[in-house]
């Protein structure tokens, strides 16, 4: 075209036709920048511009294009900030000057009374036609697109700002471990990626981290949540999402929340709970919390263990009640209802755990609102099965010890008892045979003395009763009787055992002094057990005097209105132990063949009676053992 061939008329028409069919605005301008030809799209813009300028529509042809907005006004449109330098005019002038085409030049114009921006893409080319040099100008108004782009950019910025504002990190990772995006949080914590791969720039590694779970999202194509320890040694809760970029490439969107504090709080909480659980396990004490408004019951692990249930099993009050031993159920429920009404709740009862009976001690407090309506109960459960078992064992052992001790004492008393029993038997025998003789007189005709016979028979009955009494007392002493406290005259109790003791004293050549204060108030006690203690103390006294020159044992009772004291004083070797308390220890003995149970048992019995057993050396030879018992009171 540079050669400027002459076009035929027909060609001219064809070109016109062709240009009319072009749907973009194209102008053909002469050297004066006057419009020679234009496409309909161009005309459209032109008319628009003109009408926009408020002027009558007229043919654009022959007009000089100085400004796209006011094509023929040499002063420019007057609206643009730099009309004199209107890029359109400048561009056309440049083409005529240089002959160089202008391709896709984007220009910005500020137009209109409101000074709004307008964007154009200009393309222009020099045509050398037979009619002279022309410029073919094409422009495209991209203002709308530009505006949209600006909006998008703004949108993007807003998004970016939002991401930067987030107190969590956000990162977009590519499948090749390179970083597509990081938010400010991430940058602030870990620095810029600068094109490095994540493992390089975060950890200075040459290979992907083995512990990293992020990239499994690429395989599963589903979100994944995990915990990550960052290079800053902080713990992040990480959320990974598969993410398809606008260009269709795969990315991973990862968000991380710093949960270090959270975690340590949780750990502390868990530790506290763990310590509580352990402490409860050691102490066999569980605890519980009952929300009365929602009827929810929360148990600690130990409580579950005590009740033989898996920790976490849902429970409520009714279920708890079902586990209570049927014999205690009514009692427990009654006490709990009373607790709700403000009574203290501290009870011991049985529960059934896997068919086994266990003992628990419960203690609870009920919180109420201002009007006194119960809100919640907080309580403890202590497994006291072993304790109860030990208690039962102890009682049984004590009873057995008492029995053993009694039997032992019986062994020591055998001699005395045999003697004691022989006396009435002897008397009966003699009396009966005497009576037989009286009834068969040697001299015929001599009448037997019936008065004498009557006396004999009365004596036989008396002695028979005496023998039976000895056997009864023997049985009572041997029997395993539990404590039967009743009002008891201690003097009578002592008198009952005196015959036995007297016989024993006689055998051992011991003089027995009895000094019982008359009219003492009754004490509360078990006759047999207290007699047992007194017998033991007397026998101990006898024992202590073996081999002594002076053998004298004094049994004395005294009273002061509140207590009655029984003391047994001997003239034996006295107590050689530095601490008399050690005497009362089980299995302490100074006797060659003693079991060492006597005094311990005595102490146990006396203490069970609310008294105390004392031992002290006399000023003279020997020792005195004494115990005081509280006076019996009604009720």
């Amino acid at each position: 075209m540079k050669k400027g061939k002459h076009l035929s008329q027909a060609d001219q028409l064809t070109i016109d036709e062709f240009s009319r069919s072009i749907p973009v605005p194209v102008f053909l301008l002469d050297e004066e920048r006057r419009v020679e030809k234009m496409t309909p799209a161009a005309a459209e813009i032109f008319s628009t511009r003109v009408s926009a300028a408020g002027e009558a529509e007229e043919s654009p042809f022959g007009r000089v294009i100085n400004c796209i907005h006011s094509l023929d006004d040499p002063r420019g449109c007057g609206y643009g900030s730099f009309c004199g330098d209107c890029p359109v005019r400048t561009t056309i002038l440049d083409i005529y000057k240089t002959g160089q085409p202008c391709r896709q030049k984007e220009v910005r114009l500020t137009i209109g009374p409101d000074g709004h921006d307008c964007y154009l893409v200009i393309s222009a080319e020099l045509l050398v036609l037979p009619s002279g040099r022309k410029v073919l100008l094409h422009f495209e108004d991209i203002t709308a697109r530009k505006k949209a782009e600006e909006e998008l950019a703004k949108e993007r910025q807003r998004l970016k700002d939002t991401l930067d504002m987030l107190p969590v990190y956000v990162i977009l990772l590519k499948p090749d471990y390179r970083v597509a995006f990081v938010n400010r949080f991430f940058r602030g914590r870990f620095g810029e990626a600068d094109g490095r791969r994540c493992f390089e720039y975060l950890f200075g590694r040459k290979e992907p981290c083995t512990v990293c779970q992020t990239y499994q999202v690429l395989r599963t194509n589903s979100p994944h949540t995990w915990e990550w320890v960052g290079p800053d040694d902080r713990i992040y809760s990480v959320f990974d999402f598969p993410f398809t970029d606008s260009d269709g490439s795969f990315l991973i969107l990862e968000m991380g929340i710093d949960i270090t504090e959270d975690k340590s709080t949780k750990e502390k909480l868990a530790l506290t709970k763990n310590n509580l659980d352990r402490a409860q396990r050691v102490a066999h004490v569980g605890s519980w919390h009952l929300d009365l408004l929602h009827n929810t019951l929360v148990w600690t692990e130990e409580t579950y263990r005590i009740f033989g249930l898996e920790p976490g099993t849902p429970v409520n009050y009714d279920q708890f009640l079902q586990m209570v031993h049927p014999g205690d159920r009514e009692y427990v429920d009654r006490k709990w209802q009373a607790a709700l009404a403000g009574e203290p709740y501290e009870i011991e009862h049985r529960i059934i755990v896997n068919g086994q009976v266990r003992w628990i001690r419960e203690k609870a407090e009920v919180e109420t609102d201002k009007r006194g309506k119960p809100l919640r109960g907080i309580g403890t459960v202590q497994d006291i099965t072993n304790y109860k078992q030990q208690e039962a064992d102890k009682i049984r052992l004590q009873r057995e010890l008492l029995h053993v001790s009694r039997v032992t004492a019986m062994g020591e008393l055998t001699a005395a008892l045999a003697h004691e029993l022989n006396q009435p038997l002897m008397a009966i025998m003699s009396n009966v045979q005497a009576a037989q003789r009286f009834l068969a007189p040697r001299t015929p005709g001599q009448n037997p003395d019936l008065e004498e016979i009557r006396e004999i028979l009365a004596d036989v009955v008396k002695d028979n009763k005496r023998a039976a009494g000895i056997i009864l007392r023997l049985r009572a002493l041997l029997k395993k009787t539990p404590l039967k406290p009743a009002p008891l005259d201690i003097n009578t109790a002592i008198r009952e055992i005196l015959p036995l003791m007297r016989s024993n004293a006689v055998i051992k050549n011991i003089s027995l002094n009895i000094e019982l204060t008359p009219d003492l108030p009754p004490v509360k006690g078990d006759r047999v057990q207290l007699q047992q203690v007194i017998v033991n103390l007397i026998l101990n006294g006898f024992e202590a005097m073996t081999g002594e020159e002076e053998k004298e044992l004094t049994i004395r009772t005294t009273g002061n209105g509140k207590t009655v004291t029984v003391s047994i004083k001997d003239t034996g070797t006295g107590i050689t132990a530095k601490n008399p308390e050690v005497l009362f220890k089980t299995f302490f003995t100074t006797k060659k063949d003693g079991m060492g149970m006597g005094l311990a048992v005595n102490k146990t019995i006396i203490e069970a009676h609310g008294g105390s057993l004392r031992a002290e050396n006399n000023r003279g030879p020997g020792a005195t053992f004494s115990f005081a018992l509280p006076v019996y009171e009604e009720g």
Binding site: M426, S430, A434
Partner: protein, 213 residues
Amino acid sequence: MPPTIFIVDDDPSVRKGLERLVRASGFKAKTFASAEEFLACRLCQEPRYPACLVLDVRMPGISGINLQQELAKAGIPLPIVFITGHGDIPMSVQAMKNGAVDFLPKPFAEEELLAAVEQALTKAARLQKEAVEKAEVCRRVNTLTPREYEVFRWVITGMLNKQIAAELKVTEKTIKVHRARVMQKMQAASVADLVRLAQKIEVTPKRSDSFME
């Protein structure tokens, strides 16, 4: 006069029963609650009639065994039947060694008691006879002068007058006179008779230093 049975037992029932039995068997009975009570009765210890003691071994205060020893020490010839509520072998051996007639564990039948009592009374009669004899011998010995008593002890050694005279450094004639007086006072017919009397009162023969050589 029926023989008297002394009963010492601390148990009143036993005491009463035994008293009745003894009485029903035709004896006279006298009871005591303790050894002390018995010892307080001077008459009981020198009975002029046959008597014996039924004694309980174990009693408060002085025991039966101790009473037996006391009586033996005092030379009172009262045979003892021990009774006891508790058979104690060492004690019974001790009692028998000390001359007890029997040792009966309570309760015993009347036959046992009466047999023992009979035995004791027999022994009592013998002891009484012996005691009377002994008293007579003692009476006779007490009439001897000290010199005569000395010669008496020499004579029962079986020595001749000459030998005794040598021991006492007197004449044989003097000894002969003393011997005649002794024989007369002691109412002895022979030296053998004199030795028997000496044994009865436990007069020991005089020891001769030269005799030992």
